[in-house]
C-alpha cells in the first residue's frame, strides 16, 4: 500500500478564458499536460516564474480553478479516486478534508470579521472530522507546535490582532487541523520578511515532518523549496522543464532553464571607492508622520557619491521607504537637512525649483500603477522631455528612440500601451522615463521586488550598465540582500528607524557583525540542502550559550 501514490496526476491540461480589450473572449491553454506522482508523507516542490502555472497546478489538486480557470483535460487521482469525475459535491467533500490549502497572503486569506479559532476549526467541524471540542484541542496543539504565543488563547484573537508571520503559521494550523492527507502550500513565505520567513519555514517543515502529511510546495524561490521538499518539479509556461530529486535539481541541473534558476543573482559588481564630494548627503534627519508621536526616522546620516549606488536595506517597517519620502520632499523632516549636489534641498516638494525636481527622479516597485494605463510608451517617456527640456516634434521623437535603445527595447514599442508589456518591460519603461530627465540621482524603491528572479536580474544589469553611461547615482531601497550584493557600492542597514550599520559594501558584509545584521544575513536562504537545519541549530546553540 505504501507504494501507491497519494496523488497521481496524468496529462493535466488547464485552460483559461481571457478577455482581450475590444475582442471576443478567447480560450487559451495555460498548462499543457503535466504528470507527477506524490507518495504519502512526501513533499514535492513546484517551482517556476509567474505564469508558469504552478499555483494553477496546485489548486488543480483540489479540483479548483481560480477566476475563469478550468481544468480541461487529464486525470487527478487523490487516494486512488479521480477527483475530476463525480461533480462538485464530491469535490467539496475533498476540499478542506483530504486536501487543504495554505495561501500566499495569510493576511488577506483570513476573514477579518471572525475570530481565528472559528476559522481554523471550521473545515474540521464542517466535514465532521472531529467535534468542536476536539478540533479546538487540535488547533491549540498545533499553535504550540508552530511556536505561536499563548497557544491557549491565541485562537480568540482576530486576524488584525496578530502579526504577518503569526498569521502565516495560523494558516498552516488551519490547513493541518482537519488532519488532511495533502496540504497545498502556495508561496507561504513569499510575503514575509526574510528574518520572519526562516522561522515560518522551519515551523512548516517541522509540522510536515511531525504530522506525516504530504505536501505540494509552490514557490518561485529555489533556495526556499530546496529546504523543504523531497522532489522538485521545474515549470515554465505551463510545461514541465525538469523533474527530479531536490539534490539533483540543485547540484546537478540538466536543463538550461534550471541552470539559469540555480545560478540567478550571480551578478558581480566591484565596489567603487567614495569620491570627494557626495551628490546626496542626508544629515541628522529625524522624521515622523503627522498626527503620530513616534519618530519613524531617527537621526539618519548617509552619503551617496556621484555615479555610485547606496543600498538601503531593512525589513518592512524599518523606515527605508520613509527615508525616500523625506529625500523627495513628500515628508518634510522634523530635524536635519539634506544637501544635494552641494546645495541644501528645500524640505517640502512644492517649494523645490524645477531643476531640483529634474535632477532627482524616482522608480517604483509597482511599474503597473506608476504608469497611466491610457498613455502609450511614447507619451509616458516623452512627458519629462517636454516638461523639463521643452522638446517637441521630431526632436522629442528622436530622444524617445534613444531612450528606448538604452533600455534595450526597440522603437516598435512607442505606440504600445502599458497593458501590452510584460512586467520587466514595464519596469524598463519606468527607468527610461526617469532617465529622460537626465537626473543626477534616481531613487529606486524595491524596483525588482515584484519581478521574477531572472527578469529582476535583467533589470539590475541594465541599471548597472546605465550607471556607467550616464554616471547617475542610485539610492536603492530593498529588503533583498542578494540584490544588495549585486549592485551596491555602499550599504546602510536600517532597523526600527535607525541606521544600524553603514559603510562600503565589503565592510558592511564582512564580520564582525552587529546582532541585527548577523540575523539578517544569516536568514537569507542559500541554495544548498540542509541550510535551514544548520541555521536553526546554530541559533539554538547561540541562544543556549548566551
Amino acid at each position: 500500500m505504501t507504494d501507491a501514490p497519494l496523488v497521481k496526476v496524468r496529462n493535466l491540461k488547464i485552460g483559461a478564458t481571457v478577455y482581450p480589450p475590444g475582442e471576443r473572449p478567447q480560450e487559451i491553454e495555460i498548462v499543457h499536460g503535466v504528470d507527477f506522482d506524490l507518495a504519502p508523507g512526501k513533499v514535492l516542490g513546484l517551482i517556476g516564474e509567474s505564469g508558469a502555472g504552478k499555483s494553477t497546478i496546485g489548486l488543480a489538486a483540489m479540483g479548483y480553478g481560480r477566476g475563469g480557470v478550468e481544468i480541461t483535460g487529464g486525470e487527478v487521482f487523490v487516494n486512488g479516486r479521480d477527483i475530476l469525475k463525480g461533480g462538485l459535491r464530491r469535490l467539496r467533500a475533498l476540499r478542506g478534508a483530504e486536501v487543504t490549502y495554505v495561501a500566499q497572503s495569510a493576511a488577506a486569506s483570513f476573514n477579518p470579521a471572525k475570530r481565528l479559532m472559528e476559522q481554523i476549526t471550521e473545515a474540521t467541524i464542517h466535514h465532521k472530522r472531529a467535534t468542536r471540542a476536539e478540533a479546538e484541542a487540535r488547533a491549540i496543539a498545533l499553535f504550540e507546535k508552530l511556536g505561536l504565543p499563548d497557544p491557549q488563547n491565541f485562537g480568540q484573537r482576530y486576524p488584525h490582532q496578530v502579526s504577518g508571520g503569526q498569521l502565516q503559521r495560523a494558516m498552516t494550523a488551519l490547513a493541518l487541523c482537519p488532519q488532511p492527507d495533502l496540504v497545498v502550500f502556495d508561496e507561504p513565505t513569499t510575503a514575509l520578511d526574510v528574518t520572519t520567513q526562516i522561522d515560518v519555514l522551519a515551523a512548516i517543515k517541522d509540522a510536515i515532518r511531525d504530522t506525516g502529511v504530504a505536501a505540494l510546495y509552490i514557490t518561485h524561490d529555489l533556495a526556499v523549496v530546496a529546504q523543504v521538499s523531497d522532489d522538485i518539479m521545474v515549470l515554465q509556461q505551463g510545461r514541465m522543464v525538469e523533474y527530479g530529486h531536490t539534490d539533483q535539481i540543485i547540484n546537478a541541473p540538466r536543463e538550461a532553464y534550471t541552470k539559469a534558476l540555480v545560478s540567478v543573482r550571480s551578478i558581480e559588481h566591484a565596489e567603487k571607492a567614495p569620491t570627494q564630494e557626495p551628490v546626496l548627503s542626508v544629515q541628522n534627519i529625524t522624521a515622523r508622520y503627522r498626527g503620530t508621536d513616534k519618530d519613524v526616522l531617527q537621526n539618519i546620516n548617509v552619503d551617496l557619491h556621484p555615479g555610485q549606488t547606496l543600498a538601503v536595506v531593512g525589513e518592512s517597517g524599518s523606515g527605508k521607504s520613509t527615508l525616500a519620502r523625506v529625500i523627495t520632499g513628500l515628508l518634510p523632516p522634523s530635524e536635519g537637512q539634506i544637501t544635494f549636489d552641494g546645495r541644501v534641498l528645500t524640505p517640502t516638494l512644492a517649494a523645490r525649483p524645477l531643476e531640483d525636481l529634474r535632477e532627482l527622479q524616482m522608480i517604483y516597485q509597482m511599474a503597473d500603477t506608476a504608469m497611466n494605463p491610457r498613455q502609450t510608451v511614447g507619451t509616458i517617456i516623452g512627458r519629462p522631455l517636454e516638461f523639463y527640456f521643452g522638446l517637441k516634434g521630431a526632436e522629442k521623437q528622436k530622444r524617445i528612440k534613444e531612450l528606448l535603445d538604452e533600455i534595450e527595447m526597440g522603437d516598435g514599442f512607442v505606440d504600445r500601451y502599458p497593458a501590452e508589456l510584460s512586467g520587466g518591460q514595464k519596469q524598463r519603461v519606468c527607468i527610461a522615463r526617469a532617465l529622460a530627465a537626465k537626473p543626477k540621482l534616481i531613487i529606486c524603491d524595491e524596483v525588482t521586488s515584484a519581478l521574477d528572479p531572472l527578469v529582476a536580474d535583467g533589470i539590475l544589469k541594465l541599471l548597472l550598465d546605465l550607471q556607467k553611461i550616464e554616471n547617475v547615482a542610485y539610492l536603492f531601497i530593498t529588503h533583498d540582500l542578494a540584490t544588495v550584493r549585486a549592485i551596491s557600492d555602499s550599504i546602510a542597514v536600517m532597523y526600527q528607524g535607525q541606521v544600524v550599520r553603514y559603510g562600503g559594501k565589503s565592510q558592511v558584509l564582512s564580520p564582525p557583525f552587529d546582532d541585527y545584521t548577523d540575523l539578517l544575513l544569516s536568514s537569507v536562504p542559500e541554495m544548498k540542502l540542509g541550510w535551514l537545519e544548520n541555521v536553526i541549530a546554530h541559533r539554538k546553540m547561540e541562544s543556549a550559550g548566551h
Partner: protein, 319 residues
C-alpha cells in the same frame, strides 16, 4: 484610555446634533423667505389693513427674524412646536398622531422589505448571472421604475377589487384593533415594499459581490463549504456596512417620502398633513414637519454610521 468605539460614537452623535441644528436654521430661513403673507392668507382678501396689522403683531411677524428663530427654537427644545395658524390647534398634538401612523406604516413596510431585500440579494449572488439573478434584478428594476401611484392603483384593482382581499382605503384610527389596522395598510405596505426593494437588494448584491473577490472567500471555498454558506458566513458579515447604509436611506424614505402613497390610499400620515398645510401657508406646521423629517433622516443615518463602526472588528477589538 477610552475605547476608540466610545470616542467615535460620541463624535458621530455630536456631529448629528450639529447637523440637526444646521437643518433647523435652513428650515427656518427657507420658510421665512417664502413669498406670501400668512396674515393675508388667514384673513382672506377682504381683510382690512388694521386687522392685518393686528394679526401680524399677534403672530409676532413683525419681530426681526433672528428673534423669531430663537423663540421658535426655544419652544422646540421644550417640546412646544407652536400652534397651527389655520386651526389654532397645538401642532405637537396633531403631529404626534400623524407621526404614529406614518411610523406604523413604515415599520411594517420595513419589517417585510428589509429581510426580503437582503435574502434576494444573497440569492442573486448565489446564482450570479444565472436565471434567478436575472429574474430578481429584472422584477425589482421594473417595480422601482414604475411610479408608485401606478403600482398603488394596479394593486388596488387586482388585490382589493378583483381578488377582494384587503381594503383599498387605508384609513386607520385608534379604536381599530391591530388586525384591522394591518388589514387596512396591507396594500400600501406592498406598494412601499416594491418601491424600496430594488435599491436595497441591488446594493446588497453589489456589496457582497465586492467582498466575494477577497482572498478569504477562496479560503472558505477551499474548505469545501457550500456556496450559500460561504456567502452567509464569510461574505455577508463583511458587507454589513454598505448594506446598512442603503437600508437606512430607504427607511428614511419610508418615513419622509411616502406622500404620494398616503394620498393614493387616503392614509392619515405625516406626508398628507404636510402637503395640506403647505398649500395653506401654515408656516409653523411646515417648520415642525421639516424639523421632524430632518431629525428622522439624521437619526437613521447616524444609526447606519454607528452600526458600520460596530461592524468593524478592527474598531471593536483594537490591538
Amino acid at each position: 484610555m477610552v475605547h476608540p468605539i466610545v470616542k467615535l460614537v460620541t463624535q458621530r452623535l455630536a456631529l448629528g446634533l450639529l447637523l440637526l441644528f444646521a437643518a433647523s436654521i435652513l428650515i427656518f430661513a427657507g420658510t421665512t423667505i417664502l413669498p406670501g403673507d400668512v396674515a393675508q392668507q388667514i384673513l382672506g382678501q377682504s381683510a382690512t389693513p388694521e386687522s392685518l396689522a393686528n394679526l401680524r403683531e399677534e403672530l409676532g411677524l413683525n419681530d426681526p427674524p433672528l428673534t423669531r428663530y430663537f423663540n421658535w427654537l426655544g419652544g422646540v427644545l421644550q417640546g412646544d412646536l407652536g400652534t397651527a395658524l389655520t386651526n389654532g390647534r397645538d401642532i405637537a398634538d396633531s403631529l404626534a398622531a400623524r407621526l404614529k401612523n406614518t411610523m406604523f406604516l413604515a415599520f411594517w413596510a420595513a419589517v417585510i422589505a428589509v429581510p426580503l431585500a437582503i435574502l434576494l440579494g444573497l440569492l442573486a449572488v448565489r446564482f450570479k448571472d444565472r436565471w434567478p439573478d436575472k429574474l430578481i434584478s429584472g422584477v425589482t428594476l421594473a417595480t422601482i421604475s414604475i411610479p408608485e401611484f401606478m403600482i398603488g392603483y394596479v394593486l388596488i384593482y387586482w388585490v382589493a377589487i378583483r381578488m377582494g382581499v384587503f381594503s383599498s382605503v387605508a384609513i386607520v384610527n385608534d379604536s381599530m384593533s391591530l388586525g384591522a389596522k394591518l388589514n387596512a395598510i396591507a396594500i400600501p405596505v406592498m406598494v412601499l415594499t416594491l418601491v424600496v426593494l430594488a435599491h436595497m437588494m441591488r446594493m446588497t448584491r453589489a456589496a457582497i459581490l465586492n467582498v466575494m473577490q477577497s482572498a478569504y472567500i477562496e479560503t472558505a471555498e477551499l474548505k469545501g463549504l457550500r456556496a450559500l454558506t460561504v456567502i452567509r458566513k464569510h461574505a455577508f458579515p463583511n458587507a454589513i456596512a454598505p448594506i446598512v447604509n442603503v437600508v437606512m436611506l430607504n427607511l428614511a424614505y419610508l418615513v419622509v417620502g411616502v406622500v404620494v402613497v398616503e394620498v393614493v390610499f387616503a392614509y392619515p400620515g405625516m406626508g398628507q398633513y404636510l402637503v395640506d398645510h403647505v398649500s395653506k401657508r401654515d408656516v409653523p406646521v411646515v417648520q415642525a414637519c421639516g424639523l421632524i423629517f430632518a431629525a428622522v433622516y439624521i437619526g437613521l443615518n447616524l444609526v447606519a454610521d454607528i452600526v458600520s463602526i460596530l461592524a468593524n472588528p478592527r474598531l471593536r477589538h483594537p490591538k
